[in-house]
Subunit: 341 residues, 2 copies
DNA sequence: GTGAAAGCGCTAACAA
DNA sequence: TTGTTAGCGCTTTCAC
């Protein structure tokens, strides 16, 4: 907890190197158009003085901050219940770091925070924003969109009407769900159920759509609502067994849900996969590999999603430099076969 | 992805309100020493123009950034395996937000990143840093300490020699462990084992110390090394059962470890708590409540730890304003009784 | 109580 | 290629 020492300025470096501030500035920012010997002298002076540019002064004139906000709607239990958030963040961080950008994390807790976030984003502290819009009715994303900050969303925003060109990164939830259900059908299962996620999230809705793509004509009783949690999975599985005792396969909206379902199946004496085959979604390793039996599931590359979000945003920020305007990106999923189906 | 609109400046507000820039500045920063009618006029002008101060310009002169870096050593599987990180972050975020500070997240991935973080912290972009130093041999914390940025650590740093006054926030790991083991002993158990955490982390070492405080004279075979993961817990439990078949209680270094141990105990046909009582650490709800049987455990208030870290740092930053220099804080733990012990 | 003026440290025309 | 100069938008003495 030392006090801040007075830091050397461009001026000081210039004096020491015997050149002008402008030259030092050039060298510090890449050094093109400065002759080698001078570059060398400046470099040495920088070194000796331990000069570090003052970001505030630089931003003041460049209007660039080399900083990106990551906005996460917080009350989401889900954000904490699974490593989703952390993994995505890691991907984002890596990409940002690779391009010398800083990550400003904005966690929101409610109404008040929305205003705060809006103000912050509108306040020109950051060059852009990466936003996770988990719920259909979340007012935040639109608010941000209106703030006029370049933004990339994580997951397809629910309010996206297809008209406005929102940029987002998402997994192919629908396609992945289709693949899972097809696999179940291919196993010869005929009573394939689906435990949904929280349906106010597009990922859950899309997975349900995927299920219906394949099982459109199936007994509607086979679809039961969950909420992405193990507890929700248990509840749903019980309901399912009561309603349709002949169910022989379950596609759960995520691995956590599947783990809950598995527990109930065991409790009720159903063997997995012999009596009931189970497939999850996510391939969350600590969950999928620990269940009994290990979970067959649909993998999505979460870290890559984060990386991609950052990449799209940075590209957009650079579009003046000839880059094209990015559009939404949907990443493929993979079926991972383990023992449960 | 709109282009940035030209934002109004202090100058513009001053013109509109018919006052000087200085007066507007005063109003914007609290408004003391300005007469009410003027305050009112300025406020209105700010409102009408949608004025938001330019942080860069302000920082340039005040040398304050109202921003704090949170540094997390990343490769830590643990950071992603449990909600620890997210919870702590939430606490930090809340406190920071309450004091109008921004959270800049620095995730590090290795050697190269250390230099980068050092540079960033030394570069005066933030007013202080909150650092998680998980491993004893992590070079980062010391590097940061040397950067001269006010810093608060999360968890007692391993290299803290007691001489230098590092400020940190930690749970009473040792005391909590003692309480857990005493509870086991109080239950009449005589062969109380301990599955440790990753011993290169102070939290694990401290919990082991707590165990020894109570069981100092016990069979050393009863202590077996884990790594804070369920898999580690399984491995350790197997070893334990082989080595000491008469074990009648287990204190696991955390809930994840305990869940692994529980699994093995079930597999080997030992009843919990009848044959073997089990206690965890953390009270990580999604884990502790979902185990079978539900886990008795030592709770630590993780979010509060985060909040406290931020509070200590902010207080230090304000110490010029009469605050005292903060010291380390150790939070108490609570034993939560469920069914496993 | 209010305003005028001097920078904070840097970049970016423009001259040389 | 290098230097000179004029701000970027704000806070903060210092006069009034």
């Amino acid at each position: 907890m030392t006090d801040t020492a007075p830091r050397p300025t461009l001026e000081a470096v210039a004096a020491r190197a015997g050149v002008s501030r402008a030259t030092v500035s050039r060298v510090v920012n890449g050094g093109d158009g400065v002759r080698e010997p001078l570059v060398e002298r400046v470099r040495r002076a920088v070194e000796e003085l331990g000069y570090v540019p003052n970001q505030a002064a630089r931003s003041l004139v460049t209007r660039r901050h080399d900083a990106v906000a990551v906005v996460v709607a917080e009350p989401e239990t889900r954000v904490f219940a699974d490593p989703f958030f952390a993994l995505q963040l890691r991907g984002i961080s890596k990409e940002l770091t690779a391009h010398d950008n800083q990550l400003v994390l904005l966690l929101t807790e409610g109404r008040d925070d929305h205003a705060r976030v809006g103000r912050y984003l509108g306040g020109g502290h950051v060059d852009g924003a990466l936003v996770f819009s988990l719920h259909l009715d979340d007012p935040l994303p639109e608010l941000i969109q209106r703030a006029g900050v370049p933004t990339v969303f994580g997951g397809r925003p629910g309010w996206s009407d297809g008209t406005t060109d929102v940029v987002y990164v998402d997994s192919d939830n629908r396609g992945g769900a289709r693949e899972a259900v097809r696999h179940l059908v291919g196993l010869g299962r005929t009573r394939v159920a689906h435990i949904t996620g929280a349906l106010d999230q597009t990922s859950a809705a899309d997975r349900l759509d995927g299920y219906r793509d394949v099982m459109g004509d199936a007994d509607p009783e086979l679809v039961v609502r969950g909420d992405f949690t193990p507890a929700g999975g248990e509840r749903a599985m019980r309901e399912l067994l009561d309603r349709c005792p002949d169910v022989d396969a379950v596609f759960a909206a995520n691995d956590l849900t599947a783990s809950g379902a598995l527990r109930v199946l065991r409790e009720r004496g159903r063997r997995v996969p012999e009596d009931v085959a189970v497939i999850g979604f996510d391939d969350m390793l600590p969950v999928a590999e620990q269940t009994d039996p290990p979970l067959t599931t649909v993998r999505q590359d979460i870290e890559e999603m984060g990386r991609l979000m950052a990449r799209l945003l940075l590209r957009d920020l650079d579009r003046r430099n000839g880059g094209a305007t990015p559009a939404a990106v949907v990443l493929p999923t993979t079926l991972i076969r383990r023992a449960s189906a």
